[in-house]
Symmetry: C2
Subunit: 401 residues, 2 copies
């Protein structure tokens, strides 16, 4: 008998799902040899702007800055909020101070949005495939999920409407990663964005607009963000993060939503973690004020373009006969689908043994709709290693037979 | 019509309560002149070990440490978890690696405990008075609260039993701040601790043992922690933090609980904030490994003893005729009760105008049982300023009439 059986666990604990990403990370840590890591969706170590961060740390966290280690305001340090609003001027995420609440990474933005909008049993639509921890958060609030297919133009909004009709009810919340989607890499086209907002307004459903990658475009044309298209419509809450554009370990992001929601966000966040860690807020503020973000984005986009091209070249060389893949115009991910089917969960340990890691497709679907797909993150691996990793992946597929 | 009326807010948003602490902080920020701040429960700026932290930052967050800015394991960085287990050896919180999960401050430990144990409508007992954000977290999970009086020996466990009898049902969870309690400053005596654990076992209720101040004893004799007395009983989950013993802005704490719960904690935390910010985890690890905690605690205890004595002296001088107060043997707080009654909420703005801030007693009771009490934090103010602040408080009382 497990100990937990004797404890008064809440009903919602049955809805808490583990992330395959975490277990694969543990598996990776257990491996002795040199694995090509296409699994985690994080920037490359060499893409972390450590020099700028160390420079900022020297002044923001120095011996005369005890105030940087005190509690921050729950809505976020005013210095960071001000610097952020200035940094976003002229972008598709331009905003105003009273709309911005600093969060402990984008993940907490999702947690806050679900806290405010999702009752147990509510229908929440998610993309299929979708970001694992995004759907996990909705599940942790005991949502019922409606999975909506994604194609080269992002979420198929017609399928969202059909899905709601089949379910016999409207979603309370529509969760989307509209740009360089995790895991597919595809982006919601402008007509689809407008259609999605129209559907949300008809339903009175909130849109949880989770866009961590929008500033990482390296090809194609900018598309207005849902945030910009919605122009202050209180139905849209936009979740953003510095994880992919500065560094994920900082755990600093923001939620941009109608000012009438801020007091609820503050109340909810006080009962979650009081405030976001202030040293990291000060690091980000210094990074923005020092003008480092612009130059860092230029370098990141260039590196990620090169890496995506290397990934595409390697996939063409090694998988041209047995798979197809997406063509992202930015972000971190390529989504590979095998034809004929390959069981990518069975493949996982074989691939690890060959020295390459990825995330199996089923991790991105609560109903496990993608047994023959996988996600590759090209962003954290230099081009030559990308070729090596893809060759190893092909060797694993051949070994699996 | 407010905008939120048009949004599909979750039922639980009606249970999200704002903290008077936050609004008083905003009020403070709006004040122009030099206020003596007895309000926030944070260490003094000069008590933040900025020199040691800056020294550690130089090596832990330097240009060659890009890995310090990546995602951390959800259960916490292994370096910190190991250093923590070593640092706790020989203390009343001694533990083992498999029991420790790093959290984003003690507050997230409470959030996680409620996530795992509190269903809507569950009865949760809280001390009365209690830590505002502790009861707020239980409320955010739609708990019903049973308020249990506190006296000089901490929670009155007999009153807990009587309260449950009156309610006609047993609490699912018992929330306690057993040592140098926030806000009363009193500590649960050893007999009461044993009685509390006995009651919890009879009921099958979990004990949420929130002890942020235990290492800040400056008088009296150590009492074993609930964690130690329970000796691995899975009913006790111990929430701890570095906020009061290093710095609150770091947002690093830990939850110590039965290893069978760790996977649930990981699943829950992944859907909250993915992981605790890694730069701060590395700062704390370096702080522990550098042996700074021991010397910092010695200095903190000495300073807080001196400040508590200054607070007592000043209270005796200015309030001997109209109030009584608690005599904490450690921690940050003195609890003052007026006799005859003074409306401490009405007093608040008068006091601010006189140049002194505190937290009104009603903030520490969901049913507002303490209109004539207030909490004073002596820890963040030097002795001379404490005398000045208490004199101003008396002037405010006299002005209020």
């Amino acid at each position: 008998m497990s100990t937990t059986a004797t404890l008064p666990l809440a009903d919602r604990t049955q809805s808490l799902v583990g992330s395959v990403i975490d277990s694969s990370t543990s598996l990776l840590a257990a491996q002795k040899h040199d694995i090509v890591r296409f699994a985690m969706g994080s920037p490359a170590a060499e893409a972390i702007p450590t020099e700028a961060l160390a420079e900022v740390a020297g002044s923001a966290l120095g011996v005369d800055r005890a105030d940087s280690f005190d509690y921050a305001s729950t809505e976020g340090d005013m210095g960071l909020r001000t610097a952020l609003v200035e940094a976003l001027e002229g972008t598709s995420d331009a905003t105003a101070l009273e709309r911005v609440t600093i969060t402990s990474g984008g993940m907490q933005g999702l947690d806050l949005a679900c806290k405010l909008f999702v009752d147990p049993g509510d229908l929440v639509s998610v993309e299929s495939p979708t970001y694992t921890n995004g759907s996990a958060t909705a599940l942790s609030y005991q949502a019922e999920l409606l999975e909506v297919p994604v194609d080269a133009e992002g979420m198929v909004v017609d399928a969202l409407v059909e899905g709601a009709e089949r379910a016999g009810r409207k979603p309370t919340a529509i969760y989307t990663v509209p740009t360089f989607q995790n895991p597919s890499g595809s982006s919601l086209s402008l007509p689809r964005r407008e259609q999605l907002l129209e559907v949300a307004r008809q339903w009175g459903a909130v849109v949880i607009d989770d866009d961590p990658y929008g500033l990482l475009r390296f090809a194609g044309q900018d598309v207005p963000s849902l945030h910009e298209l919605a122009a202050g419509d209180p139905l849209v809450s936009s979740v953003r993060t510095f994880s992919k554009i500065i560094a994920p370990g900082l755990r600093v992001g923001w939620i941009d939503c109608d000012p009438s929601l801020q007091q609820l966000l503050i109340n909810a966040k006080q009962a979650m973690d009081t405030c976001t860690n202030l040293p990291a807020q000060r690091l980000v503020e210094g990074f923005l004020r020092g003008g480092h973000l612009t130059e860092h984005l230029v370098a990141s986009r260039s590196a990620y373009r090169e890496r995506k091209e290397a990934m595409h070249d390697a996939l063409t060389e090694h998988f041209g006969d047995i798979a197809r893949w997406t063509d992202p115009e930015g972000g971190l991910f390529v989504w590979v689908t095998f034809e004929p089917a390959v069981d990518t969960e069975a493949l996982f340990e074989v691939a690890l043994a060959e020295g390459v890691a990825y995330i199996p497709g089923n991790a991105f679907s609560p109903s496990r709709r993608f047994p023959d797909a996988l996600r590759l993150c090209y962003a954290s691996t230099p081009p030559a290693r990308i070729h090596e990793g893809v060759a190893r992946l092909r060797a694993a597929v051949d070994r699996l037979g």
